[in-house]
Symmetry: C2
Subunit: 313 residues, 2 copies
């Protein structure tokens, strides 16, 4: 716990799968024993050998399995979604994969084809890719106070990253919800922030990474999780005070910039929330070319090109 | 000229070399006949067959040429820089490459090793990679006026991109100059903006791309130019009026946002300046997930991971 993490360490922890550009040999080695989840000539995600083995064992007619790829049968979104649901429901029932049996969320996520068209909907716990929205609510620096960021602590009872620090608001984009509607809904549910206030939040970009799930994410480790996080900033006055509403968050603290930096270095933040804060620091001139030797690598890694199609509805 | 360009078109025009992630087959095809300019086991840049042929023909003892790579002799920065200068001076004198003979700038640029240590200094016209700094000076939106951006037009007589629209301030980072010192110097030289004002500019990130030089860049076409642009924003009041100082720029115009968008769509901006404006639009909530279908691709492409080491001093 006492090791001080650099910003690049924190990026490496999230964008943890080797880059084909920066580490082509390691990337080739790591992908060589993975199957591709394909749609026609395009890739929707990487599949671990353990998942391919489970599909082969079950021998369901709606999967086509080659030595290098898997694909799902069905000529409509509905048919593909139904086939996927059948497989995941079975895994949920027989406990084959913890991410399905213990991690079931009852939330449908969208998987897109590379042309940006909806390919299928599937239960969140089984999806190979995530679209998320994260918002940073902050009080700008004044003459007497530094910039301060509203920082919640996750409930210690949460199965994933319990007790860690989080972004002001964060949530997954369910199928059929727009990015912005998701932000408004989550802001109300997690932080008691009214829609009228959140409508002033500014879209400021998107960060992306290819994450290798570790034990803190719950369920099997080693699963490959490409994620995009749509990023929003909300500048607020001192009169705005977020408060827990559902059971996601324990409390909110208006954390001065230096304390945010210290908690980042201590590894107190949920990793993909640290990622969003590093992007905030870059955009707000807190991390600069003059004070960060790994500036270029950090900024490009924050925006990893993903080989998997992801888009908002 | 009448074709309307999308933001993704403008990104494609700058980041024009195929991505190993998004277009692995095209990337492999395009790189298969290039030599790598290497330093030990690391790559400093891609070299065209025509350049390798010229090196073979000259048969200088300070180049080692293999079937797939070239490297330069010298165990110190000074020796490598001297060897590189000898080759470039010869090309400048004998007119072998227009980029050297006609494009000579008398500016030394730094080339770094992958560990961020200076590897050699070389004349700007021959360098395989560029570090640049670009600043956008803007007047924020008011109740009666939209956001406006100070936009210069390049002198029609310039050999590269003459007559096109530019960013408020832009310049290359010479060896020995820091990013910020370059910004201050260029702001004074190109836009008559005083150092005291420019010291308030905010570092807001870095954009990167791998550009295939076209005829508008001057000299040989097809050369591969990896570039990073350090990006700064400067919020100004109506009282700040930039003015040409050297002969780079014809005039400055305080351009309303909608006009900037129109000129972008018409292709009036120098391509890598359009790139900086698209990043500005993303960070300022002008391009959003709701209004831009290619949002994720645009934001990740703006921050291409480069296989070549680049860093500020």
């Amino acid at each position: 716990m006492s090791r001080q993490r650099t910003y690049l360490d924190l990026v490496n922890e999230v964008d943890s799968f080797p880059s084909p550009t920066l580490s082509p040999i390691q990337h080739a080695e790591r992908t060589s024993n993975l199957h591709l989840f394909t749609a026609g000539s395009h890739t929707l995600g990487y599949v671990l050998p353990s998942v391919v083995a489970a599909l082969q064992e079950a021998n369901e007619p709606h999967w086509t399995i080659t030595p290098t790829s898997i694909s799902i049968e069905g000529d409509t979104v509905e048919k593909r979604s139904k086939n996927m649901a059948a497989t995941l429901e079975r895994w949920r029932a027989n406990g084959k994969f913890q991410v399905c049996s213990k991690g079931w969320r009852n939330e449908l996520y969208s998987v897109y084809s590379p042309t940006g068209v909806l390919y299928l909907r599937m239960e969140r716990s089984g999806t190979p890719l995530f679209g998320l929205v994260h918002m940073t609510a902050y009080v700008p620096a004044t003459e007497t106070q530094p910039l301060r960021i509203w920082t919640p602590r996750r409930n210690i009872t949460k199965s994933t990253y319990g007790g860690m620090l989080d972004n002001t608001v964060a949530g997954g984009i369910s199928s059929g919800m727009s990015v912005f509607d998701t932000l408004v809904k989550e802001s109300e549910e997690e932080a008691s922030l009214p829609a009228e206030l959140v409508s002033k939040a500014k879209a400021v970009g998107v960060v992306s990474y290819l994450y290798v799930r570790d034990s803190r994410a719950g369920g099997e480790t080693g699963l490959l999780q490409p994620e995009v996080q749509y990023v929003y900033d909300l500048e607020v006055g001192e009169d705005v005070v977020p408060a827990p509403c559902d059971d996601e968050v324990q409390d909110f603290h208006l954390m001065p910039l230096d304390e945010v930096k210290e908690e980042l270095a201590k590894g107190s933040f949920k990793p993909n929330c640290a990622y969003v804060l590093i992007d905030f620091f870059v955009r707000h001139g807190i991390i600069t070319p003059a004070n960060e030797p790994n500036y270029i690598e950090i900024v490009s890694r924050l925006h990893r090109e993903l080989e998997f199609p992801l888009r908002a509805e």
